[in-house]
Symmetry: D2
Subunit: 446 residues, 4 copies
Amino acid sequence: MKKGIKIATIGGGSSYTPELVEGFIKRYDELPVKELWLVDIEEGREKLEIVGNMAKRMVKAAGIDCEVHLTLNRREALKDVDFVTTQFRVGLLDARIKDERIPLSHGMIGQETNGAGGMFKAFRTIPVILDIVKDMKELCPDAWLINFTNPSGMVTEAVLRYGKWEKVIGLCNVPVGAVKSAAAVLNKKEEDLFFKFAGINHLHWHRVFDKDGTELTEKVIDALYGPNADPAVVVENIKNMRFLYEQVKNLKMLPCPYHRYYYMTDNMLKEELEAFHNEGTRGEVVKRIEAKLFELYKDPNLDHKPEELSKRGGAHYSDAACEIINSIYNNKGTVMVVSTRNNGAIDDLPYDCAVEVSSIIRAHGAEPVNFGKFPPAQRGLLQLMKAMEELTIEAAVTGDYATALQAFTLNPLVPSGDIAKTVLDEMLEAHKDYLPQFFPKEAAVH
Amino acid sequence: MKKGIKIATIGGGSSYTPELVEGFIKRYDELPVKELWLVDIEEGREKLEIVGNMAKRMVKAAGIDCEVHLTLNRREALKDVDFVTTQFRVGLLDARIKDERIPLSHGMIGQETNGAGGMFKAFRTIPVILDIVKDMKELCPDAWLINFTNPSGMVTEAVLRYGKWEKVIGLCNVPVGAVKSAAAVLNKKEEDLFFKFAGINHLHWHRVFDKDGTELTEKVIDALYGPNADPAVVVENIKNMRFLYEQVKNLKMLPCPYHRYYYMTDNMLKEELEAFHNEGTRGEVVKRIEAKLFELYKDPNLDHKPEELSKRGGAHYSDAACEIINSIYNNKGTVMVVSTRNNGAIDDLPYDCAVEVSSIIRAHGAEPVNFGKFPPAQRGLLQLMKAMEELTIEAAVTGDYATALQAFTLNPLVPSGDIAKTVLDEMLEAHKDYLPQFFPKEAAVH
Amino acid sequence: MKKGIKIATIGGGSSYTPELVEGFIKRYDELPVKELWLVDIEEGREKLEIVGNMAKRMVKAAGIDCEVHLTLNRREALKDVDFVTTQFRVGLLDARIKDERIPLSHGMIGQETNGAGGMFKAFRTIPVILDIVKDMKELCPDAWLINFTNPSGMVTEAVLRYGKWEKVIGLCNVPVGAVKSAAAVLNKKEEDLFFKFAGINHLHWHRVFDKDGTELTEKVIDALYGPNADPAVVVENIKNMRFLYEQVKNLKMLPCPYHRYYYMTDNMLKEELEAFHNEGTRGEVVKRIEAKLFELYKDPNLDHKPEELSKRGGAHYSDAACEIINSIYNNKGTVMVVSTRNNGAIDDLPYDCAVEVSSIIRAHGAEPVNFGKFPPAQRGLLQLMKAMEELTIEAAVTGDYATALQAFTLNPLVPSGDIAKTVLDEMLEAHKDYLPQFFPKEAAVH
Amino acid sequence: MKKGIKIATIGGGSSYTPELVEGFIKRYDELPVKELWLVDIEEGREKLEIVGNMAKRMVKAAGIDCEVHLTLNRREALKDVDFVTTQFRVGLLDARIKDERIPLSHGMIGQETNGAGGMFKAFRTIPVILDIVKDMKELCPDAWLINFTNPSGMVTEAVLRYGKWEKVIGLCNVPVGAVKSAAAVLNKKEEDLFFKFAGINHLHWHRVFDKDGTELTEKVIDALYGPNADPAVVVENIKNMRFLYEQVKNLKMLPCPYHRYYYMTDNMLKEELEAFHNEGTRGEVVKRIEAKLFELYKDPNLDHKPEELSKRGGAHYSDAACEIINSIYNNKGTVMVVSTRNNGAIDDLPYDCAVEVSSIIRAHGAEPVNFGKFPPAQRGLLQLMKAMEELTIEAAVTGDYATALQAFTLNPLVPSGDIAKTVLDEMLEAHKDYLPQFFPKEAAVH
Ligand SMILES: [Mn+2]
Ligand SMILES: [Mn+2]
Ligand SMILES: [Mn+2]
Ligand SMILES: [Mn+2]
């Protein structure tokens, strides 16, 4: 593999691409990316051209030997690549906005990776990723698939279970942020701390250890969520990450930000409904931010990642992807938090499902650090959510209506009963164009 | 053991007692109960006398050789008994009404064995049952404890795990009803069908097999919940047992009636709120029924179980208790559905927890029929609920506020967030007199 | 199914057949076998005719309405049957004698269901049973397969795992004998005792309970193996069933007779070598007994099972088969010990393997009584043996030499090392004609 | 902890001590050992003085600031230490020689960590280690216990399970040797390879990966055990490490050298019997080597580890101990192979047992890399051996004769039957002085 590296990025027209390119540029000495193929679909042609040209300017400004290719032909790009990264969004931000607004219009959580919205994102995304895997088997059978399309955990599990593709790693930037905020409140260097994460994507917990072996987990809980938490120290963005102190303290582990949807459901719903009725959902906000970003990207003089990208959310996502690729390529043995096959690392979950755990990253892949069993509070929620994920993935693959309804019934963010069916039906209809598995030929919704 | 049998019934002043007495009378030939000790507390003295005298009349009318004793001295009653049955209700119906009305007043499910209400019933009941077990170790170390105080599954688990008492069986009348309704819609005799139940108390699923080996489960699902379900055939009482047909059909198992709280949460909540604002909660209705029942029981000419008792709910409960006792005493090998230690009968749950499963009942106890693994839809909910039970039991034993809050957070019928804490605090205050473990000495609520 | 029953018996020329026929005759009222097809192969034509004609005489003498058919055409017999029973022996007793003599000639245990011999019996038998299953799928897809060909557990597992045939039950007469000997030494009626068996075929343990719930296991251990064991009470045949008293007492469960091979390996080997050098191995003895039996069977006046059959070994085997069929046909719910899929009944073994456990037998099949976890002494040996079985079955199906060698290495009755390979090679050569999977086309042994 | 380090070495009079001292000297810059307490018992006073004085000379020659203390007072040494290392041998080499010769005199494997000998080493050692732990709780409750007294895995499990002491790591030099031999035959640098070990002490398997992610395991199997293995490349010492090529190839993992006892039992027994009847057992050889070593150590001019120590066996043992201490002290995150609590890292073994697995070593302890499930060939042997270990440890703690006999019966290197009891009895008698738990007061052997 120690020749130059060829990478294909599916969804290359994404606003994230500059961070990815920056990540490759700054690692070029140890990770010589010689070809970067940015792939998109007809619908995204304009964005691909804007961001692709900017990528070319960045590479040129950096003075590295790397060709950036823009293409709408995925198969051309996949040919003989070493790594495929995925950051596509089926149906673009308009689909996300529907994922948010439809549930909210029925008084339930509307969010792009949780609740009904996250399930529909899985329904739209999984058939596409399985199609990519089909192409990879033919065109680049030795490549690694580094997925950061959400819902990242379910996508990874679909690739493993239904795609029968082993060389996949799922990524998320949440653990990166958790490490940063713990280091900040402890006033310690990240590299002096050891983090042990376990759970599933957007639903994991972690413990923190100091370099002398002392566990600092409760100290971080206190600093972030305790009665005397100092907002000045707490990093921006998580200021509104409200939890009940007694409850998270009782966990003896740190929750992830998405736990707010499960631990503070009522409060989160109120916040979301407020936004829904006023400035718009997060998807609508992001759409406005993106429009501005693309205006910036058009500037033929811009040849580096602009500051404004950080507002987009998803910071560190692409950088984490570069670091994974680097660790694999250089067999570094870095400990990172990734979605990978469980194989018993978490005893409470099925052996062959995908989990998100601290793992050693080497050339042969991710080796999870063993976690073992969770105490009941974590275990119960985690097991429920994994079962919900299994059903969601199955429905995404089979297009079976009853399985989708079952998954809706199980999801704790979807009130069960007639309302679940009503929302399911409405969302199926709204996303019809991206759900061929549920609408074979001309068949109408249930 | 083949001498005459001595039984102590804790909560002997219950309105259920006549069914229990009737059960013993009709089994007298094979199950010669020579002494029945009805035990109650000072608060229940009047009810004990009314129902106890009625029990005496019943026994006399039946012409059997059985002494009925009424006592407020539990230890006197427990001395050398063969079986202890428990049907007490800490705080009487007034506590139940609080369990229902407080959550409903905050817009959440209020029910006596589910949600916040069920958890508080556990908080009040578990310390008392552990105290009974302590007495049994001293006074009747070879006796069987047949518990039908709710929440029956959690009470059984508390006895096993914290009471370290092995000879306990938990009971519920729900499986009896499920058998009857399946037989009714299939128009077959109960004894020609085989039922395989598994889950936990008030959250189990079952499959039905015909005498030629055909599985009839889906047929029963169709008959009870399908688009063409015939209300005339469906037995009274379950007419309002609404489910989403596609969802229960997808289970390939029959849910229990309490599943409505989890599968039709939104609908159930609306129904409950309607009652809350109008005729009153179930507890209030039952209180009125009971008042009438006790008026009947006062009649010195009444010497048999009156028809009106069937409206009380809980029919077949006491009869099931008699049948368990009979199966143990006579080593009958009957297959019944009971709460007992898991020991791996259900692979998805902890080895040492209590489960409710079809079991062979013999003199040495309950031998569960192996069940194995559930599919994901059942598994996820079941695992969540068991974790919630573990936390609830732990909080009931330790009186730890954070553990109680954790259990509230996990319970799918309690919206998580600030509202959970508010309701927890309000209920702790309301039930203060029955929760010494949460209020040691003079300490105020959190 | 309540028409008359049609049964096909593969290996119908076996000397066991009269017991089977007797079993059907005596159950005729509740189990009306209208057609019994005795099937054998060309090699066994003579025996089939002798024993088949005897079967016809038995049926006639009994005056029941049952046709006995003799055929060498297996497919003709399988057509539309309700039950298939298997009692064939690939390679006849001569193959058994090789299974015994070759290992013994190298100083290791030579026995037909244990050690190298049992593994080769599996190698010869499994391809044939899978071929039968293939026919059954086509000719009698609703039939039950009742297997009593040894090694019964491995054959059952092969049918489940590789044959993908669910309606199979494996049988053995060992548990029947264990029940009889426990009842004898306790001087109690079998029906007053409850037995809980668990393990795998020829390697299971059991506990015994009295009708008042008292566990009698240790009492039976003492009576059978204790220092004061009374040979007069101990039933014939098990008098030489030597165990170390302290060791079996420590098990707190009763071992099965075949445990002698694992618990008393050294002593058993000495006994076998003695026989090997003198009167011949058990196979040679049985061959002489069988010759005499078939002489008896030839007698045109003999129309009932002769006493002499009991010396053959395997008594109660066929009767157990009749009882299983009866329990299935009449949905009796009898508790019997059978080989069936584990599904977690024994936690220490793989979920999908075959185990031999006390099970409720109903029309829809065998429902194992849950067993749970064994203590370490039982667990370790059981897990080793199951792994050995898995490898043996895999080798039997694939004909892979290295897998067979691996199984030999794991088997505790085969000393590992060069000697294992030597014996494997010699036995492969000796049984070559019955092992096409190991000798595709003309390829020589490894 | 970043003050100077204080270490106590129990069994400080061992011939290994110079390697340990050398290890501390060469790491002094990052691992500043300021006090080294060499502890021994009266019986070992002379050896302690010889080797202790040599240690003092080594430290002096190295010019480091480290005090070496010699003491027979264990409690004085343990006071406030940071690390305790254990390398004691109860009963000295004479006990080892009995562990070897008694079994061999009965024709069974006689080896110090396997078979009957290893079990007796556990019987003698475990009570002493538990006594050390008792002192540690009082005198150095924050210290780490680094055990390299054999049987290292059982000793570690005893400390965890019965000593209730979490801060323990068990060590062995076998993985170090395996890494060296794989690197040698592959002609690659150790640091370019990744090794994944799992199993239990002296019974683990490993896989090898190249720095480009390619698995090299089978290549190493071929190089070491294949028909074309080149003795010139194969490192000394393992030249006689015979395995059956087909069998180890089928494992798809590399066995450890001690696997020869289980995979080549017959051959190993012959080799041992040959030595037993000629040059003497390994213990006798080692005794002669040690005598010479101590002669060398007496030389007042010797101030460095002599070459001759490498013949002693156990090379790299002490160096591994220094490296573990270094990794803990400096929170290095090195991946090493250690005995630690399973917690599900190996799914096939009990959750709370000790396993030997590749682990990340940090200041808070060993974090095992998850392994998951073994294929059946490894699984069966591993599960058997772990059960045998559990029984051995239990017998070592309780002194229960029947449990010891059970462990003997299970051990595959001890032929079961009367001979097992005979050898057990003879060894109990021979080691009587070191087995107070089996001989309370004056009670005679069974
Ligand atoms: Mn994410
Ligand atoms: Mn109930
Ligand atoms: Mn058998
Ligand atoms: Mn070692």
